[in-house]
Symmetry: C2
Subunit: 200 residues, 2 copies
Amino acid sequence: MLDQVPTLAQLIKTLQQIPYLASKSIYRLATHFLEMDEQHLEHLCAVLLKAKQQVLRCETCFVWKEKDRACSFCDAPKRNQKLVCVVETWQELLTVEKTGGYDGLYHVLGGVICPLEGVGPEQLTIDALIKRVDEKGITEIILATNQTPEGEATASYIAHKLKGKMITISCLARGVPVGSTLEFMDKLTVYKALSERRPF
Amino acid sequence: MLDQVPTLAQLIKTLQQIPYLASKSIYRLATHFLEMDEQHLEHLCAVLLKAKQQVLRCETCFVWKEKDRACSFCDAPKRNQKLVCVVETWQELLTVEKTGGYDGLYHVLGGVICPLEGVGPEQLTIDALIKRVDEKGITEIILATNQTPEGEATASYIAHKLKGKMITISCLARGVPVGSTLEFMDKLTVYKALSERRPF
């Protein structure tokens, strides 16, 4: 049926190229856009294009910032300018920020080293991090990459690169999550919690 | 953090208003749009707006059609013009079409009767269906609404409205599992349900 309505077919094809949309939702989404009134659709497009023009990455920490404003981290005098938490993506930064228990700066890597997907250290912001440590007098780096093989490898790579510099390198505590029961925990987590046990 | 980047906050808020997007994906999606190159983003917006202007509903069967083209069903001489399959939405039409086992026309209701959500018969295309039966010499109506309470009630309402007219009213065979929606059904089940339709 779609070949008889080429404009709709093109809309579907374009939506299919957007990641994180469930393939079964594409048709519902297309219907939603066609049923929206034109004003709202124009507003949506305007917001998308405005965001693309107005929002860019801070050149120091690579967190999104407004084009004509200072970075909300690097230029915040209240935050600890000597402490940097290294995260894979901006979404993970939001999770750390939500805890309300961190007042240092961030460094967004933009991904993890993954040779199978063609991502090497040069595609990430690792060089900028090393430069930042040298120039800004950072005293502690928290490596908060995810506990996946790629995340761990990236953390190791960064730690190796920072070797010999006068800074503390730490990583997130690994162990049993709050609210969970030991019975249903996977054995690797329990093993790590055991071997990295701390004084009570 | 978002209050310091109002344009990004607005983008997130706008994306949150789009249905069928998992709330956990919104931030990833926003990042995807910001990382897209501008040309692609402009293309996406152009496709959305063009679809909105070029694609509209056929005035007879309410299926999406190209503005300056004939309807791919109502104006198709090869299809059985006496047989109409009534579906809730366009997505369900696609599922029936995929079976390859149906050569009649369609009638898209645009939803189901649901008083709790303020949808009465007049919000749907039921009156147009009755008019169509009277004017176009339809001989059989297949009620293919979903087997949900609202879908069944809508089918009953339509059957009641068509009472006394010289047509056959059928519904899909009960091969379709109760509680599921047609859109997500495998095509063989839908095919069997179509070929084993029974009098309503």
